[in-house]
Assembly symmetry: C2
Homo-oligomer: 224 residues x 2
């Protein structure tokens, strides 16, 4: 249920822009430590793109385009808090549609309290997400909208790591996800730009296969 | 340092729209209880306006217009989390300026972690706020930007209750605030629309003078 946009020039352009502005950083020598405790050769902060009007507009236009293409019946746009809110609002404005956002935690009791904006039962909604890792928080937001009786058409995200877990989670939830770019595209783009070597490509691919156990030691990071 | 936009047709139009879509509700018979514990005859959820494209665009255009008018040197727009993020992003896009947002709490240690987006020292920034009550959260966001060495030109908000505390807090922080509409305008508009009576105007004004001690009993709610 997860797909990357078909136009490879566009998915490469997104990867290129995110690398250029430092929103995505690769560091094999000195891996990042994620809040989950994982060692990772990649760090992604797409929120930086909001500070670059050209990158922001490019992303907005592609998100809006993909929504029209994949979910033509869309009636409202929902942003997944917090990082999905700004691009969600921009896309809703671009498409002239109602906007809502979904908190990561309810303000009070009940899932309905996670939603800000007008609750309209049976309204067909598309969610906007900044970054998909395991898909946990995105699908929690979708669940809150479902419980408020929205009809979820699907989701659009800027970037996905392409973890199997995400594929499984979105499949189980039966929610389609379209991503503007992904980890594979990023690796190709970084190689083309000379940011990484052919050798490093394998190390980077190893991380994606088994992120929890990955180290930057080629002997240890083999997929088990 | 707090002013309401000069064009009264516009500030009335904002009040009218917020009343019409139910973003602002008045209830004298059965007052609302705010999270602070205050009894209040008014409840304000401007986030609802995001679900009404015409209202949302009208607000966006007025915010952008006021920024150009009051802070022509503006270089970046910052949204105050969470409610100020969507309109902040729309205004930044409208003006073609970089966007940032400021969390209400730091993610980790240090105030700088409250800011999402690109930190650019000495950049001249205008903050977008949804609703001003005492001004506490808005000024905390401004403080975080100051500590990251941004230059705060001022703030623009959709609505203010017009509390003296806010006037005092913004004055002390030496930060100008422009509001699209306010409690007084709302009362005038609600009276014109026949939502409230002349008698109720006095009760409503009493709340604003002394919100902490207010009840809807005219004998008790007098200003002391």
């Amino acid at each position: 249920m997860i797909k990357i946009i078909e136009n490879q020039d566009q998915s490469h352009q997104i990867a290129k822009m995110l690398l250029n502005i430092g929103a995505i950083q690769l560091s094999l020598q000195k891996p990042f430590v994620w809040s989950s405790g994982w060692n990772s050769p990649i760090y992604c902060d797409n929120r930086l793109s909001l500070s670059f009007p050209e990158v922001r507009s490019y992303i907005k236009n592609l998100l809006a385009e993909q929504i029209k293409l994949n979910y033509p019946e869309v009636e409202a746009i929902a942003g997944v808090a917090t990082a999905g809110i700004p691009q969600g609002a921009l896309v809703a404005e671009q498409l002239g549609l109602p906007f809502l956002y979904v908190r990561s935690k309810p303000k009070g009791h009940g899932m309905e309290n996670m939603i800000e904006g007008k609750i309209t039962k049976n309204q067909q909604v598309v969610l906007i997400e900044d970054l998909v890792s395991t898909g946990g928080s995105s699908l929690k937001a979708a669940q809150a909208l479902k419980e408020a009786e929205f009809k979820i058409l699907g989701m659009v995200a800027i970037f996905t790591y392409g973890f199997d877990t995400a594929r499984q989670n979105f499949g189980e939830a039966n929610i389609p996800l379209v991503c503007l770019s992904d980890y594979n595209t990023l690796i190709e783009e970084a190689l083309q730009q000379g940011i990484i070597s052919e050798k490093e490509v394998e190390l980077l691919k190893g991380w994606r296969e088994n992120p929890a156990a990955w180290t930057n030691d080629p002997q240890k990071s083999k997929v088990v």
